[in-house]
């Protein structure tokens, strides 16, 4: 391009719009071409305030540390002791979040069970019921009770180590699931009582209860069916955490699973994932406040999920008051999802490793989010289980490293006073001081 026009006037530098950026324009062109909104898997990809904006202060003179590898730092947690005669005892406070057979292949579900069991933690079913390979390979299996009730039956319910009533999911608070026809194989269709190959919508509300008073009766029914043996969790999205957690506790939940907007889904509208819900960092303090106001903190356990990736995230969640965390997307990456070794195949699908999120199309090169028998063969559930176990162990060691540096002999002894925030936003959300100050926005008594 010439630097001047034919009259000798200089061209200005072409300026791209911040509002109409390249990716926004590509969304508009895609919508115009198809007439259908974009559906994808995963959680929010936008940058939001997160645990990365928090730091631990560690120990010095005012606090003394514990010796790494020598002094004990406990990681165990018991979930559901309030009403259940058989609460769940976990060696580590990192659980595997609910992901459906249907969204994931049978071998991928088996690998999650193998890895979790070797690491001493639980795994969770999903919207599609309980498969024998999952039950068989999971020492502790949480059975999700979802609005769709696909695959729900009393025999499997009685095989569960805990029941998780799913009200919402961080990726889509107020939304149901979606499994497109490509993934409705004979087996998936059979488990869901649906014709093969149709688009399957999971309901967004439970069919036989609405509101907290009904939920209390629903919990009673599930306890009566299972003889008051197993814990009943209630999973809510990060919508209005103070009120939702308060109502779940009053309805009689043994544990609350709270899922922020970075938490993944198998498939829903991109607009839903990116624009509905709150970041994980923003929802934990109101939830803990609700537990404390009702005198239920540490009695009703809080399991936090949505973008948990490392032992540092685990330690920060615990310090802010969670009893445990759950991982979904991170577990899939540990199994081999989005591995750069399949880069050429991701390119052929119009994407790149790390960005692949069309899980609903069932063409996953890594053979995890698919029901295609040929693609599934690429995934070895034994090796996948080993990789997940390794990853869970590393996260646990990392969290212990931080806890010992803060002088704590149990991860649960981490506290907000161990933390500072790097940004004003994170300080306000986590209610911990901005680095180098003794202040956070909204701190009582500071006037602003």
């Amino acid at each position: 391009m010439n630097s001047h026009d034919d009259k000798g006037i200089p061209h200005t530098t072409p300026r791209q719009s911040a509002t109409f950026s390249a990716d926004v324009n590509s969304d508009i062109r895609r919508a115009a071409a198809t007439g259908i909104y974009d559906i994808r898997g995963g959680g929010a990809k936008r940058k939001v305030p997160s645990f990365d904006d928090l730091l631990f202060m560690g120990a010095s003179i005012s606090r003394y540390p514990l010796e790494g590898y020598r002094e004990k730092c406990d990681t165990s947690v018991t979930i559901g002791g309030l009403h259940a005669s058989n609460p769940i005892h976990l060696d580590i406070p990192i659980t595997i979040a609910g992901m459906s057979f249907g969204a994931l292949s049978g071998p991928a579900k088996e690998a999650l069970g193998r890895g979790a069991s070797m690491a001493g933690t639980s795994t969770t079913t999903g919207d599609g019921g309980m498969t024998p390979e999952e039950r068989g390979h999971s020492d502790k299996l949480v059975y999700q009770y979802l609005p769709s009730r696909y695959g729900m039956n009393p025999d499997d319910l009685r095989k569960a180590d805990a029941i998780e009533i799913v009200v919402g999911q961080g990726a889509k608070p107020g939304g149901g699931g979606m499994l497109l026809g490509q993934k409705i194989s004979d087996r998936v269709a059979g488990m869901r009582n649906l014709p093969k190959g149709i688009d399957q919508r999971s309901a967004c509300r439970h069919p036989d209860w609405t509101g907290p008073d009904d939920l209390e009766i629903k919990i009673l029914e599930l306890r009566e069916i299972t003889g008051w043996k197993v814990p009943i969790y209630v999973k809510v999205a990060g919508a209005r955490p103070y009120y939702d957690v308060t109502l779940a506790i009053k309805a009689g939940a043994d544990a609350i699973v709270l899922d922020g907007m970075q938490g993944g889904t198998a498939a829903t509208q991109d607009v839903f994932i990116e624009h509905v819900g709150q970041p994980t960092l923003a929802i934990i303090r109101p939830a803990v406040q609700a537990l404390q106001d009702l005198g239920m903190h540490r009695k009703v356990q809080l399991i936090l999920s949505g973008g948990i990736r490392s032992g540092a995230d685990v330690a920060k969640a615990m310090a802010l008051g969670a009893d445990a965390v759950a991982i979904g997307t991170a577990a899939l990456i540990a199994l081999g999802d989005n591995d750069p070794k399949y880069e050429a195949e991701y390119n052929a699908l119009g994407t790149t490793s790390g960005a692949y999120d069309d899980w609903h199309e069932g063409r996953d090169p890594a053979g995890i989010t698919t029901q295609d028998p040929e693609l599934m063969k690429r995934f070895d559930p034994i090796e996948g289980g080993r990789r997940l176990k390794n990853y869970l162990k590393v996260m646990t060691l990392e969290a212990q490293t931080i806890a010992r540096a803060c002088g704590k002999n149990h991860l649960h002894n981490l506290e907000p006073e161990d933390l500072v925030a790097l940004t004003m936003e994170a300080a306000a959300m986590a209610k911990v001081p901005l680095c180098g100050t003794d202040w956070y926005p909204g701190k009582p008594g500071t006037g602003y």
Partner: protein
């Protein structure tokens, strides 16, 4: 016959006693007195026993039932027979909303009327109502049969899959993707059998069949207005 006073002995004791019954139990007939609208009566049963509830029940009576016959001698609250797998529930009075929600199998008979969302997300159960049913019945119904001897309210069978609906009276309105279908001989045969089994008063020839038009099975933007 085993007699159980729910008011005196409590819900936990009732369900524990009923859960203790096996396939070859000799205690095949039970009577529950003083139900007084209690919730979760006779839930999660799995034995070929008969439970006669002498009064009205609250939420979820007979929830997730397998094999058992539960006879409510009164009216039944919301979610009665939810997710039932097999067996039978008979309600002498009226049934509240969400009757037989997501139920996979067995038979539910209502001698009175059923409220809204009767058979919501039904997955194989057969439901027979002597009277009328409320709005949004069989919403997202997947399979099974809903037989109504009276009238149906608004939006019958909205977004249904392969469930079938037989209505003797009027239908106030059909839901999205639900349409009137022809009655073929196999439908008359089916009705003949289920009317006999249910003991309701109707003739197969008097019914009209409704079911999915199957136009919403795979998403098409040109159908977006239907949602």
């Amino acid at each position: 016959m085993q007699s159980f006073d729910l008011e005196a002995q409590g819900l936990r004791a009732l369900n524990t006693a009923l859960h203790a019954q096996s396939d070859n139990t000799n205690q095949t007939v039970w009577e529950v007195q003083n139900p007084k609208g209690s919730h979760a009566i006779a839930v999660g049963l799995d034995a070929p026993i008969e439970v006669n509830v002498k009064g009205s029940t609250g939420y979820y009576c007979g929830g997730m039932n397998k094999q058992a016959t539960i006879h409510v001698h009164g009216s039944a609250g919301p979610g009665t027979g939810e997710n039932m797998m097999s067996g039978k529930i008979i309600i002498e009075g009226d049934a509240s909303q969400y009757l037989g929600a997501t139920a996979h199998g067995g038979l539910i008979v209502v001698k009175g009327n059923a409220s809204s969302r009767c058979g919501i997300s039904m997955k194989g159960v057969n439901i027979v109502v002597q009277g009328s049913i409320g709005h949004m019945s069989a919403f997202m119904g997947q399979s099974g049969n809903l037989v109504v001897c009276g009238d149906a309210g608004d939006a019958l069978g909205d977004s249904c899959y392969e469930a079938r609906f037989f209505v003797r009276g009027s239908v106030k309105s059909l839901g999205a993707d639900c349409e009137k279908k022809e009655m073929r001989p196999e439908h008359i045969e089916f009705l003949k059998d289920i009317i006999a089994e249910s003991g309701v008063d109707a003739k197969p020839e008097e019914f009209t069949r409704y079911g999915s038009a199957r136009t919403l099975y795979n998403f098409d933007v040109d159908n977006a207005g239907a949602y």
